[in-house]
Structure formats: structure tokens, C-alpha cells
């Protein structure tokens, strides 16, 4: 709740109005832009009969002749004009996300979560949503390359057959494979076959963003390869040690859902959970924390020891010694936390981030053990079929390569030349290999140096399978024939293992023959294909016992200062860089610092002031001999004297979107501590870069925008949200329009559940054909997202809290935008929606001016005119592709409303609650967004609007928005109340 004494402030630069800020603003506008005009609305790739639509000159000067190209033979399952939905799986590292793909006339257009799958539960995250664009990326590698020259897959096959003969003799001496990590029965089977055949060959797995330490820790303490699964829906007290489990850790969708379900403040019986986080850079998880400890990553090890110590002091038997100097820590915080943990035995959960060293993971496990959480809030499952990354193995392989011991190197996926730690100098090692093969989506940094390059089939073009963390088995089935005839993972693995060029389908079937035992294979198999997964295939919890050897305690390192900074790498919205050529992700604002199109060196305000650097100023990060030029961005809440840099940027020559965007942080990465290390200096270069941020102002200026309270305040005054604004009775001088009949659509957004991940934005972009406008346009303030995620800082300048607020069109009943449109292009329909008729719009932009929420988006140029044919295939045929000069905005996915209403009418019923999901609602991992008929007393929306926390944003203007928000509630530890107030001044 907004206390009078709580201080709201501007984005730092604006607050201090630094020169840099002004210059930045100036620069933003004084650039010429190279957009070109041309117009005419076009619904790309018109759906008729899956026809390709050809304009062939003019006939009789009347209208262009249009060809309709029907099928020759109609496929049974396809009804042209009616979308099909198929289930498949997207795997990322060792996690597997079950998805449903909407496809029009055999053309996948939209990805949604598979409700049956444990790791998506019907929701999605930005990577899943954006994958559809990856499929149609015109920059994907299309041709097999041999020594730079174009070649064919068959040539490679014959090449491999020769190799086989060679290695058959020496059992693969001098043969090495570097693969991505995966968790898939088929791939594992093929890998094992391969290793059986070439017992001397080495198969290592490398991932720049890896949960290796987690696996190692589990391995060392239990002696078994187990996979932890965290159950946030059971945890009352959660401690995250540098773990961004809501956004970047494994299977974050499931985590976010569980977390949100335990965070419901409204009913007094169930307790709302409490989240403690300790981290250096502000993460989405940190923004949800009730108590966030700003601390350098290296100190988290000592913090973990301190916590363990404090817990032990509460009479819990923790083996091992934990003496460590914690004089520089906030003891209150640790004590309060220890009490909480102690008070919630079996209902608490400690997670260590994958960035943290093994030690921290071990302590986390031990604490979970002694607090009785294992088996409750965290369970362990066999990780068969999973291969985890292994840095040591990589090192030794590279050593062998350098020594020339490796004649043939096969790199399956991944991009080591780009993202292997710089100190290993993979490129030079690669040059020592006689034969080298790289199998990848793009002709990327590695492919350019390998002898062979094999284009990789997109997972939407491939047959394969995957295991979720809990062991659930799911299939990966193609939604479309490979656009460029590229081989899929399974096919290539099979070739390597057996030398046979099999079809992916047969390979996967072969695996599943052993999975679906007990007869009736076909029946079961068809069910699996239909559901996308094998029901109840989750593996059982393993009962484990820890054998704790002494954990060497972390030496407290040299204290941080201006010339001894800590450098942190973190996974970005491009993951490790594999999504760098995905325009949707590049243009998605970072959930915390709101930057698009590039990364930056994030500094705390204090550090920035001491180093006298401002936003956009380009600095040199010097780590020993390595240097990296990168612009600075001041990020409140960052730990002092730490620098955080997002991975995956600074690509060269892989695609039009990725090239030259941001700086490549891998150049500084170090194999001994890949995630963070100390001893880094920043030096100014004097240059300044134009940063494309979507939110200049981080403060609410004391306005009742995001309304917030603590749990106790809420319990004592449930009506606080409404009461935060005093206004005269909301009466119009006109008689109100009657909306009491039929469907009346409305939406509720629970700010307490929203984690600001941005899945809604990408889902909307995919569903509604929203264009990408590029860095310059974004920096001019012309981004097109229909649903944006506002991020406000609250409280102390150096250690603020963050609140997220998704804002789309509020569908005002008394919409200010409508009355000012001179041509009635935006008017109301009888279901209370604020329609926007693109084709009627003449583009006065008056509606946008008059929109208090500024959610309308204008096509300043013909953004959609220059799409590649493949990108057109990604467009949703049910939504008009807007041309230049028209206004656009959210209309609650009116195309989905109409489809559902027509279907319902033809079935002689009304639309059921939940039958229509807007794209954003569907994607939201925490179910923060709910949509439905507010005229239906039993609908979820109606129920949510009845909750006391419900309020209308800017409702005091009597615009009567159909959207409303549920106020945010935090659940701070009363013991820490005082420090809170101290912080927030």
C-alpha cells in the first residue's frame, strides 16, 4: 500500500536530469530512417483453400485476376478455413515443454501450452511463443555446406560412411562428439548405440547456460544421477539463492504456476507464501520477493553458510562445519529468515541458482533435508535419458583437440565457437581437427569454421521425443514438412549411430515400441500422438539419503570496489543466443530494465555515480587481457560494485535481425567460473549509444496506478485499493448505454500473480500479426505491442522494489477514443468491446492522444510491407495485417470471440466460460490474466471482479473500463518491518 512516507522517484537519469539522458533523448530523434512507403492492406497468405494467391495483371481494367488453387486430392483431416490443433513438444536443454500448435491449412501459426503436460499446464513462456517465428525465419540455414561450398546431405552421408569404415577399426579413436544437453529416450538410445559402436570416442555435452552444478551437487550428495523437481505450490516459505526460478531456471512455467497458486491472499484460511531472494542483478523472481537481499553473487556462498549456521542454531542437526565470517551481512535478515524456515518445516523450500557453484547447491539440499522438505516441496526423480553439460569433459576434449588427438569432431547443435568460454579458445582447437561437422539452425560462427555444415530441422519439422524433469514422456511430431529439407536431430543421430539414413518417424516408433509395452501398440501410440504425451509417465519420487562430506567453506574474497568489480553473466530473452535472430524476442522489452535490441552493462546507481557513467555511455569492461565495449545502463536494485551483462548478443553474420545487436559477453567468459567472477574494471570510451528502452520513467509519481499493500494491511482493510482514490460519484450527463444483455466481455489482471515475464506480449504478437519495427523505431517510441508490461520502481533509489503491470486496451464502455474519431473507425459493439476497424481508419491519431492508457499503436510506416514470404506464412489468417497509416490496438482477440460464438450458435448453445481464452490469458504462466463474460454470474471473471482487491485503473474518470486489476499484496516478515521502513525512507 502506498504509504505517505514511501517515496516514489523518476528513472534516475530523469531524476538527476543528467546530460547523458538529455543527449540520449536528443540523439534518439536526430537520425534519418530508411523505411519505405507503399500501402494496401493485405491478409498475408490468404487462407482460401491453402491457396497461394497470385495477382496476375489487370483484367478488363476492372479488378486484378486472382487464382484459386484447390487441392488435387483433399486430405481428410484438413477443412480449409478451420484451424487444426496438434500436440507436440519443445525441448530446451533438459526441460521439455508440451505444446499445442494451431495450424491453418497445414501451416503452423501459433504455439500454445499443452494443458495435459506437467511442465506447461496450458501456459507458455516467451521461448515457446516465439518459436513459431523461428520456424519461418528466412535466415535459417538452408543448404549443406562442405568447406564453404554448397553440397548435399547425401554427400555428407557418403562422407560419414567413409569415416565409419575408418572408425569401425579403432573403435572411434580420435572421434569426438559435442552435443547439446537433452532429455530424450530416442536421442539417448542413439547416443548409447553410438558409444557402444565407438567405445573410444568421446561424447561431451556443452551448454553455456547449464544446470551442471545442480546435477553435480545431487550426484555428490546422493551418489545417483537424480533430477530435483521443486513443488512451489506446497512451499509457504521460499528462499531463492540467486535462483530466477520464475523466468530463467528449468521448467519455469510450472514453477511460476505453483508459486502463484500459493500466493493467493484473499482467503484467510490458506496462508500466502513468503519469498526471500538473495541476488546481485534484479531478476523477475527478485521483483516478486517479499524480502530481497542485494548481494554480490560470490558472497551468496557465504550467505548460504550463514543461513545454515543460523538454522543449526535453532537446534537442527546439520552435519559439516560452517564457520565463516558474516560480519558484513544483514544479521536481522538472516535471523528472521532462519526463524521462518524453522517455523515452516516441510513447507519451506530452498533453491540455489544454476549460476551458483556446487557448494551452494549442496547447502540448499542439506537445508531442505534437515527442514524435512525433501519429499514434500522438493522431490528427486531418476534422470535417465537426460545428459547434463559437463565443463570438465569439454576442457579435456578441447585439450585433446589442441594436441591433434581428435581427427573428426562432430558438433551436434550448439555454437561453441561463439559461446564456449573465451579462455578455452575453441576456434583454434577446432582448426586442429582434420574433419569437423557442425549441425545447426544457422550458418553461424561455428559452422563457418567447420568443414561440414548440416542445416538443422526446426523442432516443428521433426520427429523426436522428450522427458520432462519429472520424467513425463512426450513426443515431438512435425507440424509441417521441413521447409528446406533439413535432417532432424533423430535422423542425424541415427545416421551417426547406425550409418543408416532412416526416417525420423521410424526411429521414434522404434524407441516407443519399448515404451508402450503390453500390446495394442497402435492404439496407445495414436493416443500418445493425439495427447502429445504418455499419460502418467512421470517417474516416481526417489527416496534419497544424503551422505554429507565436509563442504569446503568459501574463502571471503577481496572486497569489491570501483576497480575490483564483480562481473555477472545471465541468461537473457535470447536464452544463450540461439534465439538471437528472432525479432519478437529482440523487440520484447527486458522485464526489468525494459531495454530492447541490445544488452548493456547493468550497474547500481551508486556504482554508476562513483564511476561517473550515465545511461548509454559506452564503457570498456576489462577482465585481465579480455576487453568488451558495451553501453552502461543504470539498474536500481543491482548490488553495488557488480556488473551484470546479458548473454546471447553481439552476433555476426547469422541473420538480418541478430547481426550487430548488442555486445558479445562470451568474450569475457571464463571456464573456471562461467557465471561470475571478480577483478573487473570499467573504463570510459567517451562514446555514447542510442538505447532503445520502452519506458523512460520508472516512477508512479505518487499516482494510484499499481495499488499495493502488505498482507496485514489488506486483512485489516480489504477495501484499500478502491479507497486509494477519492472521486465524486461516477455519473455521466448522458443516460448510460445498456449493456445488460447477451455476452459482455471483460478481463481481470491479478497484479499479485503477474511476474512480468512478457509471455502475454509475445503471445499477442503471434496471435494478432503485430509487426516488428526495429531498434530505431522503438527508440523513437513507436513499438507496436498491444499489451505492454509496465515496470515501476518503488522505494529506495539503490534498493527499490519492483511492481509489474500489464496494460492492454481497457475496453472502456465510455471510451474517450471513440467520440473523437472523425470517421467512426473505432466504435462500440453490443458486447461492450471497443472495436477498431483498421480499414476505416484514416489515421488522425486523435484516438491515441485521447486514450488515457496510451495503449493504441500507430503504423507510422508500412511495417508489414517488406515481410519475407516465409514470415507471411507465420501470420494468422483470421487477423487483418495492418498497413501504413492506420491505428491498431487490442480487441480481446475478437477473431477468437467470433469463431467461438459461431461454433456455439451452430451447436445450439451459448459460449461456455473459459471456452474463449485471449492469447495473453492463455499464455500467462501464473494465470494472472482472466477473461470472460461479466454478464455470467458464474464466470471466473465475475468472481474475480468481486474480490476486494479489484479496482479500475484511472476509473475515476468514469471511462468504465472492462478491464480491472487486483491490487498487489506483499507478505513481508513482521520481524523485518523496521528494516523495510528504513529502506524505503
Amino acid at each position: 500500500m502506498e504509504k505517505k512516507d514511501k517515496k516514489y522517484w523518476l528513472s534516475l537519469d530523469h531524476l538527476h536530469d543528467t546530460k547523458g539522458y538529455r543527449r540520449n533523448l536528443r540523439d534518439r530523434y536526430h537520425e534519418e530512417n530508411g523505411e519505405t512507403g507503399g500501402d494496401f492492406t493485405r491478409r498475408s497468405f490468404l487462407g482460401i483453400m491453402g491457396a497461394s494467391l497470385a495477382l496476375a495483371g489487370l483484367a478488363g481494367c476492372r479488378r486484378p485476376v486472382e487464382k484459386i488453387v484447390p487441392y488435387v486430392i483433399m486430405p481428410e483431416e484438413v477443412i480449409p478455413g478451420v484451424p487444426q490443433y496438434y500436440a507436440t513438444t519443445m525441448s530446451l536443454g533438459t526441460s521439455a515443454y508440451g505444446i499445442i500448435v494451431e495450424s491453418h491449412e497445414g501451416r503452423p501459426t501459433k504455439i500454445e501450452g499443452n494443458p495435459k503436460h506437467p511442465s506447461t499446464l496450458g501456459s507458455a513462456n516467451i521461448f515457446l511463443e516465439a518459436a513459431i517465428l523461428g520456424l519461418y525465419d528466412p535466415d535459417r540455414s538452408k543448404k549443406v555446406k562442405h568447406n564453404g561450398a554448397e553440397s548435399a546431405y547425401n554427400d555428407f552421408i557418403s562422407f560419414w560412411r567413409e569415416q565409419e569404415l575408418k572408425f569401425a577399426a579403432n573403435k572411434g579413436e580420435g572421434l569426438a562428439v559435442i552435443s547439446e544437453s537433452f532429455s530424450s529416450p530416442t536421442l539417448m538410445r542413439l547416443r548409447n548405440d553410438f558409444l557402444k559402436k565407438y567405445s573410444n570416442a568421446s561424447w561431451v555435452c556443452y551448454e553455456p547456460i547449464s544446470d551442471e552444478n545442480n546435477h553435480k551437487a545431487v550426484g555428490q550428495l546422493t551418489g545417483r544421477p537424480l533430477q530435483p523437481v521443486y513443488h512451489y505450490d506446497k512451499a509457504d516459505v521460499v528462499l531463492s539463492l540467486d535462483a530466477d526460478f520464475l523466468l530463467t531456471e528449468n521448467e519455469n512455467i510450472r514453477a511460476a504456476r505453483g508459486f502463484a497458486e500459493k500466493r493467493k491472499p484473499d482467503d484467510n484460511k490458506t496462508d500466502m507464501n513468503r519469498l526471500y531472494t538473495a541476488e546481485s542483478a534484479f531478476s523477475v523472481t527478485g521483483s516478486m520477493a517479499d524480502h530481497r537481499l542485494r548481494i554480490s553473487s560470490a558472497d551468496i556462498g557465504r550467505l548460504a553458510f550463514a543461513i545454515a549456521d543460523a538454522v543449526r542454531k535453532r537446534g537442527l542437526n546439520i552435519p559439516g562445519v560452517f564457520e565463516t565470517d558474516i560480519s558484513d551481512f544483514n544479521k536481522e535478515w538472516i535471523e528472521a529468515l532462519a526463524d521462518d524456515l524453522n517455523g515452516a518445516k516441510g513447507r519451506s523450500l530452498i533453491i540455489a541458482g544454476s549460476r551458483q557453484p556446487i557448494r551452494v547447491h549442496q547447502i540448499a539440499m542439506i537445508l531442505n533435508e534437515v527442514l524435512g522438505n525433501i519429499g514434500q516441496t522438493v522431490t528427486y526423480h531418476n534422470a535417465n535419458d537426460a545428459i547434463a553439460p559437463d565443463m570438465e569433459a569439454l576442457k579435456s576434449t578441447i585439450a585433446k583437440m589442441k594436441s591433434g588427438a581428435i581427427s573428426t569432431l562432430i558438433i551436434l547443435g550448439g555454437n561453441p565457437v561463439y559461446n564456449a568460454p573465451a579462455d578455452l579458445d575453441f576456434a583454434s582447437a577446432l582448426s586442429k581437427c582434420e574433419n569437423s561437422v557442425h549441425y545447426s539452425d544457422y550458418l553461424d560462427e561455428t559452422s563457418k569454421l567447420t568443414g561440414w555444415h548440416i542445416p538443422r530441422a526446426h523442432f516443428l519439422e521433426s520427429w523426436s521425443d522428450a522427458r520432462a524433469l519429472d520424467g513425463t514422456l512426450s513426443v515431438i511430431q512435425p507440424m509441417i514438412e521441413p521447409l528446406y529439407g533439413s535432417p532432424s536431430d533423430t535422423e542425424l543421430y541415427a545416421l551417426l549411430a547406425s550409418g543408416r539414413n532412416q526416417r525420423g518417424y521410424d526411429i521414434v516408433r522404434e524407441t516407443w515400441q519399448n515404451v508402450l509395452k503390453g500390446g495394442e501398440f497402435e492404439k496407445k501410440w495414436r493416443k500418445v500422438l493425439h495427447d502429445g504425451l504418455l499419460a502418467d509417465s512421470a517417474l516416481p519420487n526417489e527416496i534419497i539419503k544424503l551422505n554429507v562430506a565436509a563442504i569446503e567453506s568459501p574463502k571471503s574474497e577481496k572486497e569489491l570496489s570501483n576497480d575490483n568489480l564483480e562481473l555477472n553473466f545471465y541468461s537473457s530473452k535470447l536464452y544463450d543466443g540461439r534465439f538471437a535472430n528472432n525479432g519478437w524476442l529482440q523487440e520484447l522489452p527486458d522485464p526489468i530494465n525494459k531495454l530492447t535490441w541490445g544488452n548493456a552493462a547493468l550497474l547500481s546507481p551508486k556504482t554508476a555515480t562513483e564511476l561517473a557513467v550515465a545511461n548509454g555511455e559506452i564503457v570498456n569492461i576489462e577482465a585481465g587481457s579480455a576487453k568488451l565495449e558495451i553501453p552502461v545502463w543504470i539498474s536500481p536494485g543491482q548490488a553495488d560494485y557488480t556488473v551484470a551483462v546479458a548473454l546471447g548478443y553481439g552476433r555476426g553474420g547469422i541473420g538480418a535481425v541478430a547481426d550487430g545487436v548488442g555486445a558479445n559477453a562470451y568474450l569475457l567468459s571464463n571456464s573456471n567460473n562461467p557465471s561470475f567472477y571478480r577483478g573487473v574494471r570499467l573504463t570510459k570510451t567517451g562514446a555514447v549509444m542510442n538505447m532503445a528502452g520502452t519506458q523512460d520513467h520508472g516512477s508512479m509519481h505518487g499516482r494510484p496506478i499499481v495499488r499495493e499493500a502488505t498482507l496485514n494491511e489488506y486483512r485489516s482493510n480489504p477495501e484499500f485499493a478502491e479507497e486509494m482514490v477519492e472521486h465524486p460519484p461516477l455519473k455521466s450527463i448522458y443516460p448510460e448505454h445498456d449493456y445488460s444483455q447477451g455476452y459482455q466481455w471483460g478481463m481481470v489482471i491479478d497484479l499479485n500473480a503477474c511476474i512480468g515475464c512478457g509471455a502475454c506480449t509475445i503471445a499477442c504478437q503471434s496471435e494478432n500479426n503485430i509487426p516488428i519495427v526495429g531498434k530505431l523505431q522503438v527508440s523513437k517510441g513507436r513499438e507496436m505491442h498491444w499489451i505492454r508490461n509496465d515496470r515501476y520502481y518503488v522505494g529506495d533509489e539503490n534498493d527499490p522494489k519492483i511492481v509489474h503491470m500489464p496494460v492492454a486496451c481497457q475496453q472502456c464502455e465510455n471510451a474517450p477514443c471513440e467520440s473523437v474519431c472523425p470517421v467512426a473507425a473505432t466504435v462500440h459493439d453490443k458486447e461492450g468491446l471497443n472495436n477498431m476497424t483498421y480499414t476505416r481508419c484514416i489515421g488522425t491519431r486523435y484516438c491515441s492522444n485521447n486514450c488515457p492508457y496510451k495503449v493504441r499503436r500507430f503504423n507510422f510506416f508500412n511495417y508489414t510491407g517488406k515481410y519475407a514470404e516465409t514470415i507471411r506464412m507465420a501470420q494468422n489468417p483470421d487477423v487483418t495485417v495492418r498497413s501504413r497509416g492506420v491505428m491498431e490496438k487490442c480487441t480481446f482477440c475478437t477473431q477468437r470471440l467470433n469463431r467461438a460464438k459461431i461454433k456455439a450458435r451452430q451447436e445450439g448453445r451459448t459460449v461456455r466460460d473459459g471456452e474463449i481464452q485471449t492469447a495473453c490469458e492463455q499464455a500467462c504462466p501464473t494465470r494472472a490474466i482472466r477473461f470472460g463474460n461479466i454478464n455470467d454470474p458464474d464466470s471466473i471473471v465475475t468472481a474475480m471482479k468481486k474480490i476486494d482487491r479489484n479496482y479500475a485503473l484511472l476509473g475515476e474518470f468514469n471511462v468504465r473500463p472492462r478491464n480491472s486489476y487486483l491490487a498487489k499484496i506483499r507478505n513481508p516478515n513482521p520481524k523485518l518491518g523496521k528494516t523495510e521502513d528504513k529502506e524505503t525512507g
Partner: protein, 183 residues
Amino acid sequence: MSEMVKQNKIEGILAEFPDPAALISAAEKMRDAGYKKFDCHSPFPIHGMDKAMGLKRSPLGWIVGSAALFGTSAALGLQWWTSTVDYRLVISGKPFFSFQAYVPVTFALGVLLSAFAALIAMLVLNGLPRLHHPIFYSDRFAKSSDDGFFISIEGDDPKFDIEKTKAFLESIGGTNSEILKET
């Protein structure tokens, strides 16, 4: 008003006067002498001349007034019909006929029509445009738009008689009077 085109050869007589005052008194004398179809030409309107010539007030006001009435009602009608009858659109939750919002256009159209009415009616009442006119035969008449003051009398005036009228004009101070002929 002055309709002069008649096919008889003599069109009328034109006489010049020194100044506005002289013109006015002359006009009064003409009036009193019972002349009807005469006119007084001056470079600018002279106050009191209507009375002196015994002219009635111009009907222009009524014409413009009705035009204005028509304009406003037409505008209001259009707005009412389009928004309440032809295509009922819910805009900002306002009633279909929200007359408050229709005032500006109604007013504007009213003014527009009356402006046109004023000019056009004026021209019609004055029989303009009329580019050819016997009076233009007179070379002196050019002064009438500069600093000359004239009285013209038409040939078909009941009391018209070349000699008498000419004499009369000179008797009331008219100088270098001339006879206007259609050639």
C-alpha cells in the same frame, strides 16, 4: 430596379453633378418632379440618398434569413438521420442523438448558406453581372467610380422627353449632360 435594355434608339440621359450634396438635392428634385426610372451614380454610397430618391428598403434581409434557417435545419437533419436512423453506432456510450455535439456543424452550415445567399441575392437584385450597359457609352461616366457624381434617367420613364428632361436636369445643376444611344 434599373432595367434599361429597350430596343428604342434613345436609351436615356446622363448628367453630372459636382458633389454629394448637389447630387442629393438634385435627386430630391427629380423625385418631386415625379421621375421614376432615374438613378444616382457615385463612387461611394451617399447617406440619405435612398430617402432623397424615394426608394424602399431592400428585401435582402428576408432572403438571407430564410437561407440561414434552411442551412441549420438541413445540417441538423443530416446529423440526426445519419446517427439515429441510417446507421446507429454506439460511440463512447453516448445517446445516438446527442444534439450537444451537433451544434458546431449546424451553426457552420447555417452561416455558410446565408453567406452565399447574401452575395448571390445582392447580385440578382442588382441585375448583376451585367457587363454591357448603355450607360457605358458615356466616356465621362468612367468618373463615377472615381470622383464623379451622375444622375441617369431612362428613356422609358413615363415622364421622359428628351428636350424637357435634358432641360430639367440642367436646371437643377446638371452639367455636360449627354444622350445615351444604343448604336
